[in-house]
């Protein structure tokens, strides 16, 4: 097993990273990060996400980017939803991703903290997300941030053609 890595990378990255709302000019870099991670380039999907979350200008919907040296290195998208699944208003994290080249440097933590702050300003006191149980990397990330299994259980079924 590997020994503990030094934390210098984390500290250095935290010093130089800014988290701010997405701008139209960031979109190509966001699409590139998503394409690197998922292997699929989804131009029209991301343009519609930008229209929905990137231009809201309020705390209900958030599309934030982490910028280091004028380069987008990560993004997070979230929204406050009221009384969905019978639950009081809570903040949902829909997507979070970090450029693989700068992972393990605290970028994801900074993004999530910024989203948490915006949810708090919107008056909610619970944050949720949902992801595939095979997605160990992101599952571990959310766990490391203090998230645990919640009160909702996702269920699904295949529908006949």
């Amino acid at each position: 097993m590997a020994k503990n890595p030094p934390d210098r990378k984390t500290e250095a990255a935290n010093d130089t990273i800014t988290v701010r709302p997405v701008r139209r000019g960031d979109l190509d870099q966001v699409i590139a990060i998503d394409a690197t991670v998922t292997g699929l380039e989804k131009q029209s999907y991301w343009r519609s996400v930008f229209r929905r979350y990137g231009t809201a200008g309020e705390h209900q919907r958030q599309f934030l980017v982490a910028v280091s040296d004028r380069r987008v290195v990560g993004f997070v998208i979230g929204e406050v939803r009221d009384w969905e699944f019978g639950s009081p208003p809570c903040g949902w994290v829909f997507a979070i991703n970090v450029d693989p080249e700068v992972r393990l440097a605290g970028v994801g933590t900074r993004l999530l903290q910024a989203l948490e702050a915006s949810f708090r300003r919107a008056g909610v006191r619970k944050m949720r997300t949902m992801l595939a149980r095979e997605n160990t990397l992101i599952l571990s990330f959310f766990r490391s941030q203090g998230m645990m299994a919640g009160s909702l259980i996702p269920l699904e079924m295949d529908l006949d053609a």
């Binding site: 097993m1 590997a2 020994k3 503990n4 890595p5 149980r133 095979e134 160990t136 599952l139 571990s140 959310f142 766990r143 490391s144 203090g146 299994a149």
Partner: protein, 147 residues
């Protein structure tokens, strides 16, 4: 998924070692804390050492110390060392025709197992140590509350 005694003991031990990676902890100290026989614990620690999670320290003040990366090792990595995680129902009915009832029950049990595996596989030792701290803080603030 029901954890065997050895597995629970391994998890307790690893977390004790990971809380202070610089400290050599004698096996007897852990045995006493968790009320188990030192002989029983020795087997568990030896398996953990073989896997590189802990390393033995010889001489006066010897014992074991943590040797892995707590941000990389998950609870599942430890559990894997002590548990057979193959589907139990399929093995039991080997050589016989599996009934619809057994298949239905296996599907439900497998759903539970998959959730358990995803949970254990996503919790690193670092995350667990933070949970331990949170429990300590919560328990301390409960004690400090006026009766």
């Amino acid at each position: 998924m029901r954890l065997q005694t050895n597995t629970s003991l391994a998890l307790f031990s690893v977390l004790e070692f990971a809380r202070d990676p610089t400290r050599h902890i004698p096996a007897s100290e852990i045995a006493e804390k968790y009320d188990v026989s030192p002989h029983h614990l020795a087997k568990v620690l030896s398996e953990l050492a073989r896997a590189g999670i802990v390393e033995s320290v010889r001489g006066v003040g010897g014992g074991y110390r943590f040797a892995a990366n707590p941000r990389r090792v998950t609870l599942m990595d430890i559990i894997h060392l002590f548990e057979d995680l193959s589907p139990a129902v399929a093995a039991r009915t080997e050589g016989k025709e599996v009934t619809a009832v057994e298949r239905a029950l296996a599907a439900v049990l497998s759903e539970i197992d998959e959730l358990a595996k995803a949970t254990f596989g996503s919790i690193t030792l670092s995350t667990m140590l933070r949970l331990v701290e949170r429990q300590q803080t919560a328990s301390k603030s409960d004690q400090d509350k006026p009766a």
